[in-house]
């Protein structure tokens, strides 16, 4: 199987000293990313954002610049290899997929991780809802069911720990076929605590 691991290398170059800017002003996010993202550079990347090594990790693909992308469409490059031909969610159905991707602290210190949003909804032409589900959140939080749709914050993700995500897809009507879909972004941030 085409098992690739993609890690976010934004932190990877920081070994020589983390830099801070007070204003947050910057001229080009894309340029920074292109320089910073490395492939299979687990040894140095601080924050790993990667598919799981389970079969459902195939629902993750990458963008042309090697950033992780959750892709349950015909465009996923794993269709025909890791995915046996499926090109999307069945309509009028509930699809639950566990073990899709994970965020791992591969740095040296405990970080607070935020992922937002966890709920995606498209209602323009038919309706489809997708929920990202942090599977091991109870372990991390130490209490039971907790499902914030606007985003999740893991207060303390220790070095070596990961938070694993699955998803639930809910196309609500047949009219959603080949029309309604999610094309959105998940914002992930990690900050040392």
């Amino acid at each position: 199987m085409n098992r690739r691991r993609f890690v976010l290398g934004l932190g990877a170059l920081a070994g020589g000293g983390a830099a801070t800017v007070g204003t947050g002003a910057f001229s080009s996010v894309e340029a920074q990313r292109n320089i910073s993202v490395t492939v299979s550079d687990d040894a140095n990347a601080q924050l790993g954002i990667q598919p799981t090594d389970e079969p459902s990790g195939n629902y993750v693909d990458t963008t042309p610049n090697d950033a992780l992308a959750i892709d349950l469409t015909a465009s996923n490059n794993n269709v025909g290899s890791g995915i046996a031909g499926g090109e999307g969610l069945n309509a009028n159905a509930i699809t639950e997929i566990a073990d899709v991707f994970e965020i791992r602290n591969q740095g040296a210190q405990t970080v607070e991780v935020t992922a937002t949003p966890l709920a995606y909804l498209e209602t323009d032409s038919g309706a489809v809802a997708v929920l990202l589900v942090p599977q091991n959140a109870p372990d991390l939080f130490g209490f039971g069911v907790f499902y914030p749709t606007d985003g999740i914050t893991i207060k303390e993700l220790d070095p070596g720990d990961d938070i694993r995500f699955g998803l639930i897809g809910l196309p609500l009507s047949e009219s959603a076929i080949d029309s309604a879909g999610i094309s959105d972004e998940l914002a992930i941030s990690a900050e040392a605590v």
Partner: protein, 180 residues
């Protein structure tokens, strides 16, 4: 969209312009990742449900291409020869109506549940089991990735107190669950 802040990781670029904390560890990483999800028709979705297009395709009112699988054996879908339902006190078998295929990433066990006034009279069989082995409703079918079964149905009204216009089956829910 939420403003993204990249406040680390570009030490070699930023060194000339910004202060360095000197902790030797990353302070903040923020990244946006694409989430793309499509809704597919039944013929191309992760669980493929598609009419076979065979001799009995007249009973299939939606073969799953562009929509969701639908089978009608009633007056709303009378055959070209005028049949609009199954006989009372008879056994009707219809071969090879549709396929179920696992187009996902791991093996699944497919079961089904039925709703309708007399749904127990309608049974679904995979090829090879029709019409003597276990029905799919009583014995789920395991499908590896890329594997499929062709489904035939049997309607047994022998000795049943059903008559013209009575509903037998209204809908079927297919459930595919990963085996591992």
């Amino acid at each position: 969209m939420q403003r993204r802040k990249f406040i680390t990781g570009v030490g070699s670029l930023a060194a000339a312009a910004v202060a360095v904390t000197g902790t030797g560890a990353f302070t903040n990483v923020t990244a946006a990742r694409n989430v793309d999800v499509a809704v597919a028709d039944d013929a191309s979705a992760y669980l493929r449900l598609e009419g076979t297009g065979g001799a009995n395709s007249e009973y299939v009112t939606d073969d799953g291409n562009g929509g969701t699988l639908s089978i009608d054996l009633d007056s709303k879908n009378a055959t070209s020869s005028g049949g609009d339902g199954v006989n009372p006190d008879a056994v009707t078998q219809i071969d090879d109506l549709f396929d179920i295929e696992n187009q996902g990433t791991q093996a699944v066990e497919v079961s089904l549940s039925k709703t309708g006034d007399n749904s127990s009279l309608v049974k679904f069989y995979k090829d090879g089991n029709a019409y003597s082995g276990d029905s799919i409703g009583s014995s789920p079918v395991t499908l590896g990735t890329g594997s499929s079964v062709t489904v035939s149905i049997e309607i047994d009204t022998v000795g049943q107190s059903v008559s013209d216009g009575d509903q037998l089956l209204d809908s079927v829910t297919f459930t595919a669950t990963a085996t591992s």
